[in-house]
């Protein structure tokens, strides 16, 4: 089947089998390999991307459902030149080790702080508890996201810091 949608600011059209997940479509058809698949059954959150502004698990959604949708992946919230304030906070707080779960966590955090730039640490912890990280024990992740709030507060209203 043919499906057309926007990814990271560009329009794409892909031919996929109906059973192709959005995660597989992004990774294999569009070669956007920053989105990772950790469990393929919706628990770990590694594959989280934004669809029409909402963080979703790309392993639990089919590519053919994406007609006319607007998708943002880790590549879409990254710059060539410098880390974004959220990414820099992750680096500063050592909020990643192996880095496999990190794109999904960054997208989840980005979606959260875009909507709620004043989210409390408890709120951050609650939201991030939908993403599994096996390396860090989460404590530095919560610290990093809390640290990044200032950048989102300064730019409240705009899409990305």
């Amino acid at each position: 089947m043919n499906v057309a949608f926007a990814v990271n600011g560009g329009q794409v059209e892909v031919q996929v089998e109906p059973r192709t997940t959005l995660a597989d479509c992004l990774r294999y058809d569009l070669r956007l390999t920053g989105t990772h698949v950790g469990c393929a059954h919706g628990v770990c959150g590694a594959c989280t991307v934004m669809v029409d502004g909402v963080a979703v698990r790309s392993c639990l959604i089919l590519a053919v459902q994406m007609q006319d949708a607007t998708i943002v992946t880790i590549e879409g919230i990254s710059n060539d030149n410098a880390l974004t304030p959220l990414q820099a906070a992750f680096r500063k707080h050592f909020a990643l080790q192996c880095g496999f779960c990190t794109p999904g966590i960054l997208i989840t955090a980005h979606a959260l702080l875009t909507e709620e730039p004043n989210a409390s640490e408890d709120r951050i912890r609650d939201v991030i508890s939908g993403n599994i990280c096996r390396c860090t024990g989460y404590i530095p992740i919560v610290e990093a996201i809390a640290d990044a709030r200032a950048a989102y507060q300064n730019q409240a209203g705009s899409a990305a810091p």
Binding site: E17, R19, R27, Y28, R31, L32, T33, G34, T35, H36, V37, G38, C39, A40, H41, V43, C44, A46, T73, I74, E75, S78, N79, L83, Q87, F90, R91, K92, F94, L96, Q97, C98, G99, F100, C101, T102, P103, L106, R125, D126, I128, S129, G130, N131, I132, C133, R134, C135, T136, G137, Y138, I139, P140, I141, V142
Partner: protein, 757 residues
């Protein structure tokens, strides 16, 4: 510049992060090759049976399927997976064939590999393979296995693959002599549950066969690529020089990833068989069935003490449920659980038998702190029970029996049948205990024990541990001066997601006295150095880092010698600055201009002496008696790791290890039914810690006792955080409830049973 160069010891931000944070990592499933095919694996759904027939006709006929590989295609005899370390002839018959032949022995055992144009087609084809398996009675626990009524390997006549014995002094005589009532014997039975590392990236491999050059390249290597290359070369009948194993970014290891698995033969074999690149990416259910399991031990122990709390002896038997085969590192946990049972304590007489029993479950291997997590749970629980029995405060009991700094080095028991004599190197175990108690406010919190506050019972627990690191025999490095004056550093250590690139760059920059930005680290792939030993047993920083220091000295010598020729002075008069060699009269030459070819040097660090980090952990928990739910209100970890290279990556290792340990203590359990079927095949059933579970963790690292066994002074530190967690938490629950937990995990239902049954 050079005098102020001190990267080691600084919380340097990680070089890895720039790519990982932007989705630019290169994990194995991110790689693509033209003409690449996809493999899926048909695995046994029968835990124990005779494999009578495999019919792949319909699967092979499916459009898009290229071929199906079974034992018949692999050839006769089917290669088996050897033990990587400390081999034992008696274990060879229990090795796993790379594909099932004759019998299946666990649910998840590979029977056939489908190679197809897409992963989806390959999965479709799995359903078209028909099997005929004559089921046999399964053994799922050590008791059933030990009864030998159903044998996994009939020709062996027993399910007992091996028994290790750890001996120090004369435990039997100590027990015989202890007849009066000035002695007490504490007898207990404990067990720890089967669980595993569960990395966020599942395993995956890509095999690429170049028919022209007869060269095989395998992507997706980790941990021990050189050892794995050697195994593959022997199995597949190629010289090692015709095989390269390539390590990219690795989504977590923790002892599980990178050991030789059946797929590490099957995928390269398939690529050569069809002469096209073949990719295999494990799915999560498959991962929970197929990757090495760990931690399933039970024990009967006796502790002999004097009335004053002096420990005289420990003896007993520990049984390891090692699953259906002896895999590449299956013996590590059964050895460690015996060898390190005494931990940092003075126990003059030890006699421990540690058995390895084969069962119809997934084969086992190492998981972070192998054998030590289990042994610490047994020992620290036993100590609290014994102290209570003696009427001695648990802290006083530990303080009385900890080895003092003047007693170090101190020998660990002698292990047989593969003799191994190790000793605890240096440290002050009492100091870390005291600091832990102080940071935790033990004396302030001890009055909470057993108190019911707002419907929750409160309790505190303590435990001490050691962590063995720096396993030899050696590690290699190579340095190359690049055209722009930067230095490329190639190390035999492997990364598994622990920030090793940064740590190695810090060490190299200090050793070469140049900015870290001018150092590039290459690691883990067999193309980089002649020989490497890898990343296990908390060895990468110590062994790889020490190899880098040795190599840097050689490179500087090489540069000085070349510069002396060029600048007409003596080599020892050359002063090195970053990228420059300067003669006494002030003439300078750039390093890259010193030779037409790149200047380079290779170095090795050898050591047979292990390092032992150590420390103490304390926890404060509350227990809801209505539900059995335990909350960790405070968790304090104090550890001495020798020289600290990067305090932030170290802290990250320790916090992460503690949370993994809390998962081991409360949540993680690979549950099998009595028929040998795995019941926890997804993350909906196999629970891992999440962000809201354990937010209250405080870590204090110190470097009071650098190791004298290596030039860095470092001790391994990747595993210690996990080791004491089970015992510490169970001790806190015991203090809260006045009950004696003897089994992990401490799930709500288990805790509720302790309260109510």
């Amino acid at each position: 510049m050079k005098s102020v160069n001190a990267y080691v010891g600084q919380p340097i931000e990680r070089v890895e992060d720039l790519r990982l944070l932007r989705g630019r990592g290169q994990f194995v499933d991110d790689l693509h090759f033209d003409g690449m095919l996809h493999a899926t694996i048909l695995r046994s759904s029968v835990p124990h049976g005779r494999l009578l027939r495999v019919d792949t006709t319909a699967a092979t006929a499916l459009a898009g399927v290229v071929t199906v590989v079974t034992a018949a295609e692999v050839g006769n005899p089917v290669p088996t997976i050897p033990l990587r370390l400390a081999p034992m002839a008696g274990l060879i018959p229990y090795e796993q064939p790379v594909i099932a032949t004759g019998k299946v022995r666990y649910v998840g055992e590979p029977i056939a590999v489908v190679i197809a144009e897409s992963a989806a087609i390959a999965e479709d084809a799995l359903e078209l393979i028909t099997l005929e398996i004559e089921a046999l009675p399964p053994c799922v626990d050590t008791r059933t296995a030990a009864a030998n009524r159903s044998l996994l390997f009939e020709e062996m006549g027993t399910n007992l693959a091996a028994t290790y014995t750890a001996v120090l002094g004369d435990a039997a005589s100590a027990f015989v002599a202890a007849t009066t009532d000035e002695f007490r014997v504490c007898r207990e039975r404990f067990d720890t549950q089967r669980h595993t590392a569960t990395t966020m990236e599942t395993r995956g491999l890509i095999g690429v066969w170049d028919d022209k050059t007869q060269h095989l390249t395998v992507y997706g290597a980790a941990k021990v690529p050189f050892a794995s290359r050697g195994i593959l070369a022997r199995q597949i009948g190629l010289p090692e020089s015709s095989i390269d194993l390539i390590e990219g970014d690795v989504g977590g290891g923790f002892g599980m990833r990178g050991e030789f698995y059946p797929e590490d033969f099957l995928i390269p074999f398939a690529a050569r068989h069809v002469n096209r690149p073949v990719k295999w990416i494990e799915d999560r259910r498959e991962h929970l069935l197929a990757c090495n399991h760990a931690r399933e031990f039970d024990c009967d122990l006796e502790l002999l003490c004097k009335r004053d709390g002096t420990i005289l002896a420990i003896r007993g038997q520990i049984n390891g449920n090692i699953g259906a085969y002896i895999r590449a590192n299956a013996t590590i946990a059964p050895r460690n659980v015996a060898l390190c049972l005494s931990g940092p304590y003075r126990i003059p007489n030890i006699y421990i038998e540690s058995t390895m029993l084969v069962t119809n479950k997934t084969p086992t291997g190492t998981y972070r702190g192998p054998g030590r997590f289990e042994g610490d749970f047994f020992r620290e629980r036993l100590f609290d029970i014994a102290a209570k029995d003696l009427g001695i405060d648990p802290v006083v009991f530990r303080r009385h029996n900890l080895l003092t700094k003047d007693e170090l080095p101190s020998k660990l028991p002698v292990l047989t049948p593969v003799p191994q004599q190790e000793e605890l190197d240096c440290g002050d175990y009492l100091q870390t205990l005291d600091r832990c108690l102080a940071e935790f406010d033990w004396s302030g919190k001890v009055k909470l024990n057993g108190r019911l506050i707002d419907g929750r019972y409160h309790g505190i627990g303590i435990g001490c541990f050691i962590e063995g690191g720096a396993v030899g025999p050696r590690e290699n490095a190579r340095m190359v001066v690049e055209g722009d004056g930067s230095v490329s550093v190639y190390v035999g250590s492997a990364i598994v997601g622990q920030g090793l690139e940064t740590v190695c760059a810090q060490i190299a920059a200090d050793a070469l006295e140049m900015p870290m930005e001018q150092i590039r680290i290459f690691h883990g792939s067999t193309t980089y150095v002649q020989e490497g030993f890898g990343s296990f047993a908390s060895r990468s920083t110590v062994m790889g880092g020490s190899a880098i220091i040795a190599t840097a000295e050689k490179l500087k010598e090489t540069i000085r010698t070349a510069a002396a020729l060029c600048l007409n002075c003596a080599a020892e008069d050359i002063v090195l600055e970053p990228g420059l060699a300067i003669s006494p009269d002030g003439n300078a030459v750039r390093w890259p201009d010193l030779a037409p070819e790149h200047l380079q040097a290779a170095g090795t660090f050898s050591s047979t002496r292990r390092t032992y980090g150590y420390g103490a952990h304390a926890a404060h928990v509350s227990v809801d008696p209505g539900t059995g739910r335990v909350e960790v209100l405070d968790y304090v970890a104090v550890g001495d790791v020798g020289r600290i290279v990067n305090p932030m990556t170290l802290k990250g290792q320790i916090v992460g290890a503690i949370v993994q340990g809390l998962g081991s203590t409360f949540l993680e359990h690979l549950v099998y039914d009595q028929e040998g079927q795995l019941l926890t095949g997804s993350f909906a059933d196999y629970l891992l810690p999440t962000a809201s579970d354990y937010p209250n963790i405080r870590v204090y690292d110190q470097e009071e006792y650098p190791s004298s066994n290596n030039p860095l002074g470092a001790k391994g530190a990747g595993e210690g955080g996990i080791v004491p967690v089970g015992g510490v938490i169970a001790n806190a629950i015991a203090s809260a409830l006045g009950v004696q937990p003897r089994s992990l995990p401490m799930s709500p239902s288990r805790v509720w049973e302790l309260i109510n049954c």
